[in-house]
């Protein structure tokens, strides 16, 4: 099974070297062959299971509680400005 490694890396927001592209492509194809074994199982009349707890629409009491202070929230950021996180520009002039 073939996998378009460049496209997938872009979707995943990962930058790969040429060597990594080649290596991962091969390794991921091995994994895909293993998981393709699932096609041997008949699931025509089977519903999906996305959770096993049986819990649905869990609601929390709407009580305001203290959250992290601005100082604590910023403490692990490498780049801050005026008490805010600095992010890459997504729109440029």
């Amino acid at each position: 099974m073939k996998i378009n490694i460049k496209h997938v890396a872009k979707l995943a927001n990962l930058t790969l070297t040429k060597e990594e592209e080649k290596r991962f492509e091969k390794q991921l194809e091995v994994t895909l062959d293993t998981i393709n074994k699932l096609n041997e199982v008949n699931t025509d009349n089977t519903e999906i299971t996305s959770q096993v707890t049986g819990l649905e629409n869990v609601m929390d009491d709407d009580i305001p509680q203290p959250s992290l202070s601005q100082k604590k929230a910023l403490a692990n950021a490498k780049n801050t400005y005026n008490g805010l996180f600095v992010v890459k520009a997504i729109l440029e002039e």
């Binding site: 990962l14 991921l28 994994t31 041997e40 199982v41 999906i48 707890t53 692990n76 950021a77 996180f85």
Partner: protein, 473 residues
């Protein structure tokens, strides 16, 4: 040698003033210094914190306080958020990250009086079954440092087995508690999904992640589960079902209990493991339980090989989503710091969730998951528990996982089905291989049947001596 004690014994001795928590903590810290250059079980040793925790515990003990884990030295896997102490999940992405809050598990342990010795090594982001994907070096197996401790909770497994701590905490998505417990020769309990809060645990696969205890004896796991279990408002998937006192009923006779096995389930496991499993089966029979092949009850189960497919798809998909948050902006380092295994998993998950492949892979896996859940459901209408070896082999040599993209799945083939179904399971030491490495037995139960599997595991332990053997270090 007080570092060799179990929680149960250490509590008694602390209560009788045989020694103080400060002395016990110091003994563990000395043991760590003596052995960790070889084992590399730790990412961070929190000596000053530990001595301060112990001093406070001793004050409380002097005042007659009897918190359940008061003054007991623990090690915590490095994917549990610990306020003020680096939580790296053994990854370069989170190297240097210091959480501003405690995971619920950590908060509960602190409330119960534990002393934290440090944070243990693991596969980076828990991606693996060897600790070889750690960005902080590989942990070694205390029984033979040429071998792997298993993983992902390999640091906790090695540390508890080497008596660096009285007990430890791990987390399991599919095998990460039970398999390192088996390879290191200790007890490891993976609770029912939702029994213990995931809040503050660096997420791997949110639909199966389950924190749990790794201890020297079964009773200790029950003691720790008493502290950890319960609904947490910070984790909406934690269960509101009432908890129990899991230490009650450990000694109950297992006479008349019906235990399932399956020849089909364990096809292809190693000879030494099969031999230990056959002996384990006879122990249960001698205690009056009836052990039956579920095929003879008319119950068919899927080859566990299919669980590898289901687990691989679901886990990679959840990983790709959970690890999307790491951008190096608010905390941690940017995405170029991911190791090979994380990159592979993120990419496979991204691929199986992408347009055109979602139905063929992700949805297909969710459907086969239903079949697995239903099969277990049917099985547990007929039997009280299901037993199997924990791992198809004893510990494998260092280097075994390198360049095997499916290493973990093969090592975890016998635990993945129950993890997919969210069921509880416990590993107990059950023998040794010809090359003197531990072999583990697992007891699996239906949802929230922690009391049943703890009882069976405890009675097995009480009638065998495997748990008494210690590695020479």
């Amino acid at each position: 040698m007080i570092y060799k004690l179990t929680i149960k014994k250490a509590k008694e001795w602390l209560a009788n003033k045989e020694f103080s928590s400060a002395e016990l903590t110091k003994a563990c810290l000395d043991r760590i210094k003596e052995t960790d250059e070889t084992l590399r079980a730790f990412v961070t040793i929190t000596e000053a914190h530990a001595l301060e925790d112990a001093r406070r515990a001793d004050e409380l003990i002097a005042n007659g306080d009897d918190k359940p884990l008061l003054g007991i030295p623990f090690v915590i896997k490095d994917n549990f958020s610990t306020v003020g102490v680096q939580t790296s999940a053994s990854s370069n992405v989170l190297r240097g990250y210091v959480p501003p809050f405690d995971a619920t598990v950590v908060a509960k342990l602190k409330e119960a009086g534990m002393v934290m010795l440090g944070k243990t090594n693991m596969d980076a982001f828990a991606h693996g079954s060897s600790t070889e994907t750690s960005d902080f070096g590989t942990t070694k197996n205390p029984w033979n440092p040429e071998f792997l401790p298993g993983g992902s909770s390999g640091g906790t497994g090695a540390s508890v087995a080497a008596d660096q701590a009285i007990a430890g905490i791990g987390s399991e998505t599919a095998g990460s508690i039970r398999q390192p417990a088996a390879w290191c020769g200790i007890v490891g309990l993976k609770p029912t999904y939702g029994r213990v809060s995931r809040y503050g645990v660096v997420a791997m696969a949110s639909s199966t992640d389950s924190p749990g205890p790794m201890t020297k004896i079964v009773e200790d796991s029950a003691l720790v589960l008493n502290v950890l279990a319960g609904k947490d408002p910070h984790d909406a998937t934690s269960s509101p079902k009432p908890t129990k006192d899991y230490t009650k009923g450990l000694n109950k006779s297992i006479k008349g209990r019906k235990i399932g096995i399956s020849a089909k389930y364990i096809e292809g496991i190693e000879k030494d493991v099969l031999k230990a499993f056959e002996e384990a089966r006879r122990v249960f029979e001698k205690l009056g339980a009836s052990v039956v092949d579920i095929a003879d009850l008319g119950i068919d189960i899927l080859d566990p090989q299919y669980s590898i497919g289901v687990y691989t798809i679901l886990q990679r998909a959840e990983v790709s989503s959970n690890l999307a948050r790491f951008d190096g902006i608010r905390y941690g380092n940017d995405r170029s710091a991911f190791g090979d295994e994380a990159k592979r998993r993120i990419m496979l998950g991204t691929y199986t969730l992408s347009a055109g492949y979602y139905d063929a892979f992700y949805k297909k896996a969710l459907k086969v998951r239903t079949i697995i859940v239903n099969e277990f459901h049917k099985m547990f209408e007929e039997v009280d528990a299901f037993i199997a070896p924990t791992s198809p082999s004893p510990a494998m040599p260092l280097g075994s996982s390198k360049n095997h993209p499916m290493f973990g799945e093969m090592a975890d083939v016998l635990v993945e089905p129950s993890s997919i179904a969210g069921l509880p399971g416990i590993n107990v030491p059950a023998g040794f291989s010809s090359n003197k490495l531990p072999i583990g037995l697992q007891v699996m139960g239906t949802q929230f049947a922690e009391d049943t599997i703890l009882n069976l595991a405890h009675e097995f332990e009480a009638n065998t001596e495997w748990h008494l053997r210690k590695p020479e270090l």
